[in-house]
C-alpha cells in the first residue's frame, strides 16, 4: 500500500514538473523582454554618471512635466467618461437581445479592431479633414480616442450583463420597483465589476497614448508619451527619460490598485445586499 502511495506521488510530481516546463518559454520571454528593460529603466532613473541619485526623479517631477502628465490624465478622463456614457447603453441593449443577434452585432465592434489602430486613425484624419472643421482640435483627439477605446468598455460590461441572473430583475419588479429603480438599485450595482474593468481598460492605455493625439491633434498638445520620447531621442538623456517613465509607472500602478480596491468593495457590497 505504502509503496503504491509513494509511486503515485512520484508520478504526480513528475507530471507537475513536466507541466511547469511549458511555462518556461514564457518566463524566459518575460525576463528578456519585460523584466530586463524595466531593470534598465530603474537603473537609469536612479543613477547619474555611475552614482546612485534621486536627482533625476526630482528634476523630472518639475511643474512643466507634471502639467504634461495632468493634460494626459485629463484627456484620459474625458475619454473614459465618454466611453462609459456611450458604451454602457450599447452593452445593455446588446445584453437584452437574442444571443444570435447580439453575437452578430458585436462582430461590428470587434472586426475593426482587427485592423491596426494607426490605419484607422489615419482614416479619421482624412474624413475629418474633408468633411468637418474639427481636425487638429481637442475635439478631434477625443473623437479618435473614444472611437479606438470604446470596444474595451463595451465588451466587459456586456459580459457582466449577460451573466446577470434575470430572476433578480423579476424579483425587483415583483416587489414593486419600477424599471428605473430596478436599473439603479439592481442592474447597475450588479454590473459594477464590468464597469470597473472597462474603466481600467480604457483609462490606463489612454493615459499613455500619443499617436492619436499627434495625428488628430496636429501636435498642438504634448502628451506624456511624447515627452518621454523627446527626452530619450531628441535630448539623448536616458536618465531623464527613465525618470519620467518611472513617474508614469507609479501613477499607473496607483490608479490600478485604487480601481482593484473599488472592484473588491463593490463586489462585497453587491453580494451582501443580494443575500
Amino acid at each position: 500500500m505504502k509503496r503504491t502511495d509513494v509511486k503515485k506521488q512520484k508520478s504526480m510530481t513528475g507530471m507537475h514538473i513536466r507541466r511547469s516546463l511549458f511555462a518556461f518559454p514564457y518566463i524566459v520571454w518575460m525576463a528578456v523582454f519585460i523584466l530586463s528593460p524595466m531593470l534598465l529603466i530603474l537603473y537609469y532613473a536612479f543613477t547619474s554618471e555611475g552614482g546612485a541619485t534621486l536627482e533625476n526623479i526630482v528634476q523630472a517631477a518639475n511643474w512643466d512635466n507634471m502639467r504634461v502628465l495632468l493634460d494626459s490624465v485629463r484627456f484620459a478622463l474625458y475619454t473614459t467618461v465618454l466611453c462609459l456614457l456611450l458604451g454602457y447603453p450599447i452593452a445593455y441593449l446588446l445584453s437584452r437581445m437574442k444571443k444570435t443577434t447580439a453575437a452578430l452585432l458585436s462582430v461590428f465592434f470587434i472586426v475593426p479592431m482587427w485592423m491596426n489602430f494607426l490605419l484607422r486613425t489615419y482614416a479619421w484624419k482624412v474624413l475629418l479633414g474633408a468633411f468637418t472643421k474639427i481636425l487638429y482640435t481637442e475635439a478631434a483627439v477625443l473623437l479618435g480616442m473614444v472611437y479606438n477605446f470604446l470596444p474595451f468598455m463595451i465588451l466587459p460590461i456586456y459580459t457582466t450583463l449577460i451573466k446577470l441572473d434575470k430572476s433578480y430583475i423579476e424579483a425587483a419588479a415583483d416587489l414593486g420597483a419600477n424599471p428605473a429603480t430596478t436599473f439603479l438599485r439592481v442592474v447597475l450595482p450588479l454590473s459594477m465589476s464590468g464597469i470597473i474593468s472597462g474603466v481600467t481598460m480604457v483609462f490606463i492605455p489612454s493615459t499613455t497614448t500619443f499617436a492619436i493625439s499627434q495625428l488628430l491633434g496636429g501636435g498642438k498638445t504634448m502628451l506624456y508619451g511624447d515627452l518621454i520620447y523627446m527626452k530619450f531621442i531628441t535630448e539623448q538623456s536616458w536618465n531623464a527619460g527613465s525618470a519620467l517613465s518611472i513617474i508614469l509607472l507609479v501613477f499607473v500602478l496607483l490608479s490600478m490598485t485604487f480601481m482593484k480596491k473599488a472592484e473588491r468593495k463593490t463586489s462585497d457590497e453587491g453580494g451582501g445586499r443580494l443575500w
Binding site: 512643466d64 504634461v68 496636429g218 501636435g219 504634448m222 523627446m230 531621442i233 531628441t234
Partner: protein
Amino acid sequence: MKTSQKIVCLALALLLSLSCFACGGKSAKVTLNVLNWGDYIDPTLLRQFEDETGIAIKYTTMTSNEEMLVKLASADNIYDVCFPSDYIIEKLIADDLLYPINQDNIPNLKNIDPRFLDLSFDPGNTYSVPYMWGTVGILYNKTMVSDPVDSWNILWDAKYTGEILMYDSMRDTIGITLKKLGYDINTRNEADIQAAQDALIAQKPLVRAYLTDDIKMELINGSAAMGVVYSGDAVYCIGENPDLAYVVPKEGSNVWFDNIIIPKTSTHTAEAEAFINFLCDAKVAAQNSDYIGYSTPNAAGLALMGSDYIDDPTYNPPQEVLDRCQIYHDLGDFVKVFSDAWTKIKAA
C-alpha cells in the same frame, strides 16, 4: 515513445533551420546595411548598384536625425552607410564614431561643387561626402496670401489664423524663431531661447498644426495658406500645385547638408566606399536628385539636369540667399535648454 518522437522531430526542425543559416552565411556576397531617411533615394539606383557590383544592399529608413544618432551610437550598430545632417556628423566625429574615408577610393569626389566641401562640421571631408543640401523656408499659396512674403513675421500675422503650419521639429522651429528675432541660430544664451519661447507661445493660437511630412499634403491640397518646409519638399510641392511659392525670409534661415558617412564599426568599408563613389557619379546624382527633389551638391550632376533645375531659385538658391543662412552646430548639453523650451511651447 511519443516523447522521443517529439524530440527527434524537434531536433530535425532545428537542424533544418540551422542548415538554412549555414547556406546564408556560405555565400561570398557582401551585404551593405544602409540607413537613410524615408523617400530619400531613387530605389532603382539601389538595384543598379547591386547589379553592377554584386554587393547586396539592405536598406532601412529612419524619420529623424536623432533616431539615426541613437542607432549609430549604440554598441551593436550594424550599419555600414548612413546619411545624417551636419550637426549630427559634428557630434559623431566628436564622439569618435566615424571611419575616416579613403578619398582615393572616391574618385568621383571631383564632381562635387567645392562650395560644399571642407565645411565647418567636417573640415577636409575626412569623414563625410556631400549627398544633398537645402534650406528651410516658407512655402505659401499665392491664391490665399495677398501680402508679400519675405519675412518670418508673416507666420505671426493674425490675419492668417488657422492657416499657418509649423514644422514639428524642435531644432527647426526654435531655429527660425531665433532668426526672426535676429539671434544666432546656434545660440547658447538662455535669454535668446526664452525670447523665442515667448514668441512661439504667442504664435500658438494662430497655428493650424505642428506637422512633419503631412505639411506637404496640406499645402498641396490648399488646406492651409503657408507652412515651414525644407526646400526639397518645396520643389516637390510646387511641382504638384503651381499656386505654391517658396521663400527664404530676409532675416535668414538654416542651410543644411546631409552627408554620407561610414560608421567606425563597419566591417565592409571598401564596399561602403564603392557605394559612396557610385552615388557621386554625375549621372547617378542627377537621376537621384531628380527623383527626390532635393538639391544635389554634385556640380557635374547638376549640369546634366538642365535649366529647369539650374534656374529654379527654390532648387538652386543664389549665393546671396546662402549668405544669410546658418549651418546648425551640435548644441552639446545646451540641447536641454532647447527641449525644456519646446516642452513649455507644446504644453502651453
